[in-house]
Structures are given as structure tokens and as C-alpha cells.
């Protein structure tokens, strides 16, 4: 019924049925939705559950939304992980950095953040002699610093210069981001946050700053925001020719 004048008797019956149906749907949604949400949180928070390869975490960065000179993501990462630096830029760890590029022929300029690309076929994992550099089942590439001997071969092997070596004693590490002298480290995709159902610090900071250039999500899930965007607009991976299938993609370069 799309006009206001109805027969009173019909109206009452219809509205009664409608109300009942609406109530039913409402009750259904109300009972299912928390279950669905809680299930997601439970998957993220459930202690004792190992991560599986059902999920593959990825990031999509839109360079067109990324402003040259803005370093919100870098600051957020440094704060989150306690990367205070020592004033020695050549040896200080940088897990994420802003790269400013200018096409030599066309003059087009862009700016974007580069961090560990969390490849599906990581060369750093291949070359690590002790297996300290490893890929978790959900796609996050990490360094097991209990096993790392500090040989720096993974740093030679990374095509993205994502890894840093800790060159000095450290103090007051963040409790959720242990790091120490003599081991190699890189962006962990904020694994401590991801395991708690949150997003990496850089993504949150970019959104909070109003740019929204970074999207984080499960690229195995076709319904996630990141997958939809990847399907809708062209994207590329840095050094795609190497066939590493990175989890971090870029648009707008």
C-alpha cells in the first residue's frame, strides 16, 4: 500500500501482519547480529585458538589520498612499537616510511607509505637459516626473535628494504612489541592488535587524520571492504614481476 487512504479493517489486519513480520525480522536480526559480531570477535579473541589460513590479512593503500609531507602512519607506528630512534638515522629502525616518487619521464609525483609487504612467497623466509623469519598461517610475515641469530641475510633478500637490524641495547620496550639488540625486525602488521580484533596503528592513524588512504582487512573474504575495493578498482603490487604476491597493494600510482 503506497497511499495513505486504506479501508480501516484492511489497514488494521495488514498493519497487524506487517507488525508481526517486522517484529519477527527484527527479532531475528537482533538475535543473529550479536551472534555474528560476537563470533567474529570470538574468532579474534579466543584464547588457545591458532590462526588459520582461512583468513589472509592484507592492506590496500590509495596513493591518491596520501599527501606528501603527511607522516601520520609513520608516527603512529613509531609510537605504537616504541621506535624512538637514537638520532642515528642510518642505523635506526624504520618499520614504515613515506616514499616520495617522481616519474622521471612524465613528472607525475606521488607519495605513499612502504612497509613489509607480507608476501605470500616471502624471500626473507626462504633465506633465513634458522627459520626465524616465517609466515604465519594468516599471511602475516614475522621474525621469531627467539630464534633470530642476527645474520641479516633476510635484509639482503628483501626487495622492499622492509627489515631493520637493531644496532644497540634497548630499554623500556612496549610490552606487546618486544625488540632487542642483535635481532632483525620489521612491520608486524600490528599482529598484537590484529589478534585482538583491531586494525594496525597506521591504518587507524590515517583514518583519524581524515585521509583514509589505508584499508586493512581479510583479502580471502570476498565481502570485506578491502576485497570489494580490490575487485572494483585496479591495484598493483610493488615489484609484482618478482611473483611474491604481497599482501599490501597500492592504488593510484
Amino acid at each position: 500500500m503506497n497511499n495513505g487512504t486504506k479501508a480501516p479493517a484492511c489497514d488494521k489486519a495488514v498493519s497487524g501482519r506487517r507488525g508481526f513480520l517486522a517484529g519477527l525480522v527484527g527479532a531475528g536480526v537482533l538475535s543473529l547480529a550479536p551472534g555474528v559480531t560476537l563470533y567474529r570477535f570470538a574468532e579474534a579473541n579466543e584464547a588457545g585458538a591458532a590462526v588459520t589460513s582461512k583468513v589472509r590479512w592484507g592492506m590496500l593503500i590509495d596513493a591518491s589520498k596520501c599527501t606528501p609531507g603527511c607522516t601520520e602512519c609513520v608516527t603512529a607506528c613509531n609510537d605504537e612499537h616504541g621506535l624512538s630512534g637514537t638520532g642515528r638515522p642510518k642505523t635506526d629502525a624504520q618499520w614504515i616510511r613515506k616514499v616520495d616518487g617522481k616519474n622521471k619521464k612524465t613528472g607525475k609525483q606521488w607519495s605513499l607509505p612502504v612497509m613489509c609487504q607480507h608476501c605470500a612467497e616471502p624471500p626473507c623466509v626462504d633465506v633465513c637459516p634458522t627459520g626465524a623469519s616465517f609466515k604465519r598461517a594468516d599471511g602475516i610475515v614475522l621474525v621469531d626473535k627467539h630464534t633470530c641469530i642476527g645474520c641479516r641475510y633476510c635484509m639482503m633478500a628483501c626487495p622492499y628494504k622492509a627489515r631493520s637490524f637493531v644496532h644497540e641495547d634497548l630499554e623500556n620496550q612496549k610490552p606487546y612489541s618486544p625488540r632487542g639488540k642483535g635481532t632483525v625486525e620489521s612491520c608486524t602488521l600490528c599482529v598484537h592488535r590484529v589478534d585482538a580484533g583491531r586494525r594496525p596503528a597506521c591504518v587507524d592513524a590515517c583514518e583519524a587524520a581524515g585521509h583514509g588512504a589505508m584499508i586493512f582487512g581479510d583479502i580471502n573474504d570476498p565481502d570485506s571492504a578491502i576485497s570489494k575495493r580490490l575487485a572494483a578498482y585496479p591495484s598493483m603490487a610493488i615489484r609484482a614481476d618478482l611473483g611474491l604476491d604481497p599482501g599490501v597493494r597500492y592504488q593510484g600510482i
Binding site: A47, G48, A49, A50, V51, F134, R136, A137, D138, L142, D144, K145, H146, D169, L170, N172, Q173, K174, P175, Y176, P178, R179, G180, K181, G182, T183, V191, D195
Partner: protein
């Protein structure tokens, strides 16, 4: 041949000793090793003085912990790092929270201080651990257990 093999060994040992002495003397990062927390039993045998933790019980009983805490730590850390398994009570930070020892001004002491919980036994047994090269050895912002 035996003679100068012996001599070589002696040279090696002496140089190592010299190196270590020089190291200790010039070490700016030395953990304060002046006092080992001990109490004596029967006026003869020093035993470690282990500070009491928060609450009544640990996640496991004392006998188990004394014998197996290392195994727990090693096994659990591998599961956490490689599989993302993070049971709440098995976090290292949970251990540090309960077993924090108050130092000057009520702040929890770090591993550099001989009063640190882990040092109570590890100094006594002279078993060095390298957890706290990477991990923060004191809870950040947590309440400190009374001593």
C-alpha cells in the same frame, strides 16, 4: 707436543680471563650484581629469597613452577609467536604483573635491579637468561605486589 698444547691452552684461558675482566671493568651495561637476595637456613646454606607475588596462587603450583617454568615459557612462546595462540593467563606480561617487585618510589623494578623476581633465583643459581634483552622486565602501569 703435549707440552705446548698445554701451554696454548693456558694462554687461551688466560686471555679469556683477561678479556672478561676488561669487559666487566669497562661494561657500562652491567646489571648491578652487588647483592644477591638470599636468606640463610640453619646459619649455613644461603637460599634465594623469593618475593611473594600478587594474589594467592600462581597459574600453576609452586613445585611445578620451580621445575617446569622454563618449559612453560619456551613452549608457550612458540605457540604464541607462530600460531597466534594467546591464552590470557599465559602471557609473559601477566607473569610480570603478578610478580612485580616494588623498588624506589613504589615503581616496579626492572631486571637491572637485583630485587627483580626472576633474579632472585637466577642470580642464586647463576643461570643467565636473555628474555629481558627484548622483553620489558617490568609491568608498565600495573599495580605493584607488596613485598
Amino acid at each position: 707436543m703435549v707440552r705446548w698444547l698445554l701451554a696454548l691452552t693456558m694462554i687461551g684461558v688466560l686471555s679469556a680471563a683477561a678479556l672478561v675482566t676488561v669487559a666487566q671493568a669497562t661494561d657500562s651495561q652491567t646489571v648491578n650484581s652487588q647483592t644477591v637476595n638470599t636468606q640463610t637456613v640453619n646459619s649455613r646454606v644461603p637460599i634465594p629469597f623469593v618475593p611473594k607475588g600478587k594474589g594467592d596462587v600462581c597459574v600453576r603450583d609452586v613445585a611445578f613452577m620451580r621445575a617446569n617454568h622454563m618449559e612453560l615459557l619456551l613452549h608457550q612462546r612458540d605457540a604464541t609467536v607462530h600460531q597466534g595462540v594467546r591464552p590470557k593467563e599465559s602471557r609473559l606480561n601477566a607473569c610480570l604483573d603478578c610478580h612485580a617487585v616494588a623498588g624506589k618510589g613504589g615503581k616496579p623494578v626492572s631486571y637491572k635491579d637485583p630485587k627483580h623476581f626472576c633474579r632472585a633465583c637466577h642470580d642464586y643459581a647463576a643461570v643467565s637468561i636473555d628474555c629481558f634483552a627484548c622483553h620489558n622486565s617490568a609491568p608498565t602501569g600495573a599495580e605493584v605486589a607488596g613485598q
